[in-house]
Structure formats: C-alpha cells, structure tokens
Symmetry: C2
Subunit: 359 residues, 2 copies
Amino acid sequence: MTAYPLPPGSTIGILGGGQLGRMLSQAASRLGFNVVILDPEENSPAGRVSQGQIVAAYDNPTALGVLGQTAQAVTFEFENVPASSVARLAEGGAAVAPGPRALAVAQDRVEEKSFLNSVGATTVDFAQVDSLDDLLAALDRLGVPALLKTRREGYDGKGQVWVRSADMAADAWNAIGERPAILEAKADFTRELSVIAARGHDSGIAIYPLGENIHAGGVLKTTVAPATIDAKTEARAKAIATAILEGLDYVGVLGVELFDHGDGTLLVNEIAPRVHNTGHWTQDGCVCDQFEQHIRAIAGWPLGPTDAHFRVEMTNLLGDEVDQWKALSAEPDARLHLYGKAEARAGRKMAHVNRVKGL
Amino acid sequence: MTAYPLPPGSTIGILGGGQLGRMLSQAASRLGFNVVILDPEENSPAGRVSQGQIVAAYDNPTALGVLGQTAQAVTFEFENVPASSVARLAEGGAAVAPGPRALAVAQDRVEEKSFLNSVGATTVDFAQVDSLDDLLAALDRLGVPALLKTRREGYDGKGQVWVRSADMAADAWNAIGERPAILEAKADFTRELSVIAARGHDSGIAIYPLGENIHAGGVLKTTVAPATIDAKTEARAKAIATAILEGLDYVGVLGVELFDHGDGTLLVNEIAPRVHNTGHWTQDGCVCDQFEQHIRAIAGWPLGPTDAHFRVEMTNLLGDEVDQWKALSAEPDARLHLYGKAEARAGRKMAHVNRVKGL
C-alpha cells in the first residue's frame, strides 16, 4: 500500500505527453515531484518538461512495468488509455488514479449515461444501438433529430452524426462504421456549463466555480469563469459533481459538462476523468489551479483552495491561430500558455490564452 | 544578428541548473520555448524540467559550443559564471543576456560600487584593498567596524569578515585568504529593501513594487511585498534601478538590494544580474512573475505587467526546514515551490513558500 501524502522527491508517472500532461508535469515539479511520461511520440510536449519519457505504446507491457516500478503514483491525461494498461499497472502494485472504474465509465457512452442516471444525474434520453434495427427502434422512441455516436472513442465531434429522419438511419449507421453505438435525444439547452471538481484519497472534495463554454465546430473555443449563475443552480451543479465523484470513488480532478436549460434544469452532457480544457482558466484565476489540484489529489495531499480571485476568459488557439502569440504577448492582461507543439495542424490545440479581467 | 521577438519553439540556454534555472525553465516552457541547461551536476533541479541538460563544466569549450549552436538566447542563473564562457558564447554568435558588462560589474565588488557611484547610485564608503597596508589605511579612513570582503565570489555571508579594530586587521586579511578585497564602511540602516527590475532589448523598463527583506545568518529568510513605503522613497528606488539598467545597457531581470536609512536615504548594497530570491513573491503576487519577465526580456518580447494583485510573504525553507512541506500543504494561503533537491544539507535553499495575503 502506498503511504500518503507522497513526499516531495517521489515520482509521478503520466500516461500521455500532450498539453494536459505537460501542465500536470509542471504543477508536479513545482511541488517537488519528479515526473516520467509514457507516450509513443518521441519528445512529446510533456516529455520535454519532465525528468524522463518512456517512448512506447500505451499497452507495451515492458514500458508499463518500468513506469509502475519508477512511479509512486500514476495518472493519465486522456480517457482513452487502454483499460488493460491501467489494470496491468494496478496489478503490478502501482497506485493509479483515477481508478479503473472511472475509466471504464468514461470510455463507454452507454455505461457513462447509465452510471450518471444511477447517481441521480439527469442526462438526455438515450438508447443503446447495436444494429440498424436498434437504431430504427431508438429513433422511433427518441424522435428526430437525434445524435448517433459510437459508444467508445471519438472526441471533439468525431465519430458522431446527426440523424434528422428515419430515412437517414442506414446512412448514419454506415457513417459511424456500424460499431456499437448510442443514440441520444436532442438536448434543448441555452448554454453549456462545466464543473471542475476534485476528490482526494481522504474523500475530501473541492469544486471550482463553474465555467460557461462556447464551442465552434464541435471544439471548445472559449470558457468564461466564474460563470454568471444563480446560487441555486450553482449548488445543484456542485451536488451533481459531488454525486459523480462519490459514485465513482474518484481520486483526482474530474470535468463535468452540463447543459443548462435556463429553467433551472441541468443535464450532464459528459464527464472527463482528468483535468479538462474548460478548467484552464484556473491557472490565472485561482491560487491553486486544476493541475496542482490533480497532483495534490493523487499524491494524497490536502486539496487546495478553489476560490476565483479573478474573472478569466480562456480562449483556445487552434492550428495557425497560434501565430497570434506576437499580438497577444503585448496584451497586458493576456496570459499565454503555449504547448510547444512543432506542427500547427488545422484544428490542433496549440495554446490557450487566459484574459484576466478585473485586475 | 538575432531577430526579435524570438518565436515560440526557439531554444533558450541557461547556464546553471539550480532553483533559479528551474523556475526560469518552467516560465520559458509556458511561453512555448524549449530549454537546455548547462550544469556540471547531472540531473540538476533545472535539468529535470527541461528538454535537455549538457553535463559539463561551465568553461568547457565543447559544451559552450553546443549550447551556443542550439540556443537562440542564452542566459545564466548566477553571476559567477566565468566571464570567459560568456565571451566565448558571444564570439560564437550566441545572444547572451544579460551581457558581459553586467557580469563584469557584478563579479567584482570594487567594479560594482564604482559603477554604481558613476550612475548616481549611492553606496557605503569603500576602499580597494590589495594588501595589509591598504587595509590599515582604509580602516583609518572609513573607521571601525568595517566589513572586509573578497572582491570576487563569496555570497550569503561567505568570504567576508567584520573588522572591529585596527588590531584585528592582520587576522581579517588572513581570514579572507589575503585575496584582492574591498573594505566597506558600516551601513547604518533600518531595513533592507529590494527592487526587481527588468529591461528589454527595446530598452523598455518594467519594475515591480519593492520588497522588504529579513536576513538570518547572512541568508535571506523572508521578503514581504509590496513593502510599506512612501511614494517618494519608492520613486527614488525605482530611479536608482532605472539608472543601473540603463548604465549597463542591461537586458533581463536585475535585483537591486537597498539599505533604507529611514530618513529618505537609500544606499545600494549590491546588485545581482539575474532573477533574485527577493523576487520570488512575484510568482503568487503578480500575473507575470520575475521568471517570465526575464524570459520575455531576453527573447525580445514586450515586458509583462508588474502590478501586485496580492500582498505576499515569501519565506525560504533552508535545509531540513523543507520537512515543513506537510504542514504547509494544508495551509490554504501557502503556495509551495519546491526545488527537487535530493539532499537537504544544512542552510541549503530547498524550497520557498509564498503566503498570499488579502485573498
């Protein structure tokens, strides 16, 4: 058994070397931890700011063995890390957080919505779809338009298609590769909110003020936080996050995306068992950001404060929008966070900027 | 000639892999730069959070050649880096900042005080001492007690001795190894202040609010910032810093330690051509800290804002004081910064804590 809190000088292993791993690594270093990254891509954004990187596939048994032997706590920056890898790490005695249950729920959209409903978190109506017949029956029950998504994988709008009439069912089923799927009723909402919440090994919970998110083309563009929200709705959102954290016996930071109907109703869109793009505002709005919070949680440290001291507007810089760095560097209230990615492919998350308001 | 501003993806080289190099590296990464450290000690605190470390002596010509070829800007974390190394880097075409003039002035206490006086910055009276006879003559002129220091090297109270009577002169001369020295009249002051100031490649200047410092055993213990100070004295301190920056045609962050006589008189104690321990409070008191500011300056970016949004009390954790991490991790207003040093030798700077006030 790992003894908590882990002392500085311990090593933290992170599966995934992208920007989330990078910012987790930087937070861990500030607390005196050493960090080792596992990522198949050499010289990854996170690897470049960490003590070491193991360059191997996420399911490479030797690599997982080395990581588990080296690190006193292991975490991940994305929810599609193979469940078998986490199981292998856990079997080898490594303390992996969040645990396998959170990962299993987050990796399967049917499991996720079923779990959410089981802890009292409302979602849109949905149906499991394993065949074209299932899809037709589901369309009949949920109505059109409805959203057909693969049960597993797919993000930022990939692996999903709107079905606007029963005539389109066969094409839609084909478009997602005839894979196990979920059909979701159309959500009727006025805005998307998100909750960044953390739970520690001691079951303590800390929740940041809510953010309001604006997407473009299925990708997050902007989060403004703290969101303008009445106290009752905010309390309800935090209660939903608490129920999810407790239902999963969760350790670490979790992102919860909510649809706000504007009439007090909140539906959970999805959960992410990791630090979350909609929580980047905490880097410049709070004294303890979501990355330090996650490290504190998995290392068994007391959770940090979550009060917002500034209002922040976070904007993602996608693809060649990163070329705006020069103009942004001259904006006094704009705090730049660049990920060190060499190639600015279209739509790729290259950086974000936090505009700090009310300084 | 280097074209400024350096774009993200450029490489910054840092001579010195201690905590200052570590925090500079972290700030540089956040702006999208890659960082390479040169330090003779393997696996240094800075090396562990950087893309690479060249393990070699600071005057190793091959290592300097590699660093100069790799990095588009080179800087240092301590003022005792060999001047010949900086000269070699500059000859090889590397852009080194701060430049050789700042280094030469900071490395020799007689040069330093002479320079300071030349730009109108008052210091204690002093005399150059190259022999015991010089020392006796200087004691006669400056009175006792007076402080005998080696001209070069020595820090945190090392390489210096108080001379309390002419009888002690021979012992004192012997105690500092009969090396070229400076004798300084006793400074009569009520408190020590410091100014953290930056100047860019475009000659722009940015100065943080002053800090008030408390030393113990010759080592900085605490800085409280912004210091309580009247506007006239603050303006005078900033004018002194400006004169120094301009007199050295300086690029980067500079620390200026001031003796405050309490009657409006400010004497410069010493300057440090680098980020400074008394500027660590900016990490949690300002949106752009001294580390980012230094990177912005040497990369030719616009300087960042220097306003303090919080009052901060910075405390160094020396030697086994680092064991306080556990208690400090539970203090909500205490932001911990650990340096990742394995061995907590007595008096060694292991970490600092910023206590954020007025949240």
